[in-house]
Amino acid sequence: MSGPVDEGLKSELQKQGVFVVPVEWLYNWGRRSSIWPLQFGLACCAIEMIAAAAARYDLARFGAEVFRATPRQADLMIVAGTVTKKMAPQVVRLYNQMPEPKYVIAMGACAISGGPFKDGYNVLKGVDRFVPVDVHIPGCPPRPEALIHAIMTLQEKITGQKFTDVPGYDKALPAEFPIPEQGAHDLVPTANRELWQPPKEHPDVTIAEVLKKP
């Protein structure tokens, strides 16, 4: 079949119990309705994640209730909590072990930026330094509604994807990300520079000038 199906014909066919949709739509419908998250939590955000999955907020309504205890069966990594420098290599390793296509939600202030602990010697200043993040949820911790909203945002993203532009299907792109080493003083490297770049200094104003101003 070439070209879009006539809406009138589609409607007539539906009355007879025949649904005409592109394969891509059907495929994405299946994917977005069964986003299985990886079952792991790093800190207090995990408690909110558990609450979201439990009866009151019922993540099952979105098909995302099947938390898998292995990365091999997971589609989504919810980074729920503070990523310490000691844990960071394991988080990247788990991400690498997930099958494509895979998605990441950075849940809470810590996963986004280090949050209240970002001045600490032991805390990674945002998980997006090492893995590509699809949805960020601010909050400390975010409420279960916020996590549900993130899942819905991700569903929208999946709906819009085509076979041809899902990153994991493109063989030219790297299938996995380099795992940082634990060095003598810090992680080596401190960030995956292909994924993440530090904010640039303002072209017109130097730091010295900022310091002078009251």
């Binding site: 420098k85 000691k86 930026s113 280090g114 970002k118 001045d119 010697y121 032991n122 200043k125 945002g126 634990q182 060095g183 003598a184 003083h185 810090d186 401190t190 530090p198 904010p199 640039k200 200094e201 303002h202 104003v205 730091i207 010295a208 900022v210 310091l211 101003k213």
Partner: protein, 190 residues
């Protein structure tokens, strides 16, 4: 009941005659005065405190270290309780010089088994070596880590380029070490 700290000192001295014991008053007033013991006799004093029938301090609830940068020593603090006699705490302190080569104290894990992990933590974060500890490894930081981050002179790695709202000390350091200030901050300043 635990005797007053002066009496406790006499009690210990009667059993461990050579011990150099000092009473460390504590501020604020609500806190507990502590018994400071020299490194050489710490183990003998600990054994006495645990096994003496009137004290029976059978539980060590907390081990921590305090870095006194100006005075040049690190203080290891033990909080002792008696579960059997329902009293406590007795605060026991041991001092060691700050220099890493000299910074060792006897491990009290042989007396109170529960000290093991807490002494490892003090070793990890302060660099205090506990002699006689059964398994002295880092517990929080990774094995290849060389610094002791809770020491007052610890310099954290330079990664201020991420700082979205640098201010105070962080901003000064970003300036010194060539960090960057993101445009959003500068726009607020204009």
């Amino acid at each position: 009941m635990i005797p007053a700290i002066e009496q406790l000192r006499e009690l210990v001295l009667a059993t461990v005659p050579g011990a150099k014991l000092e009473i460390v008053p504590s501020t604020p007033a609500a806190a507990q005065p502590a018994l400071l013991v020299d490194r050489e006799n710490a183990l003998a004093v600990a054994q006495f405190l645990k096994h003496d029938v009137t004290l029976l301090l059978d539980s060590c609830s907390c081990v921590t270290a305090v870095d006194y940068l100006k005075q040049g020593h690190i203080e290891i603090v033990y909080h002792l309780y008696s579960v059997a006699l329902k009293h406590g705490p007795v605060v026991l302190k041991v001092r060691a010089p700050r220099e890493l080569s000299q910074c060792y104290v006897p491990s009290l894990t042989v007396v109170w088994r529960g000290c093991e992990y807490q002494e490892r933590e003090a070793f990890d974060l302060y660099g205090v070596k506990f002699e006689g500890h059964p398994d002295l490894r880092r517990i929080l930081m990774w094995d290849g880590f060389v610094d002791h981050p809770m020491r007052r002179d610890y310099v954290p790695p330079m990664d201020y380029e991420w700082e979205p709202t640098p201010h105070g000390e962080t901003l000064a350091r970003a300036k010194q070490e060539g960090g960057v200030v993101p445009p959003s901050v500068l726009e607020g300043k204009k």
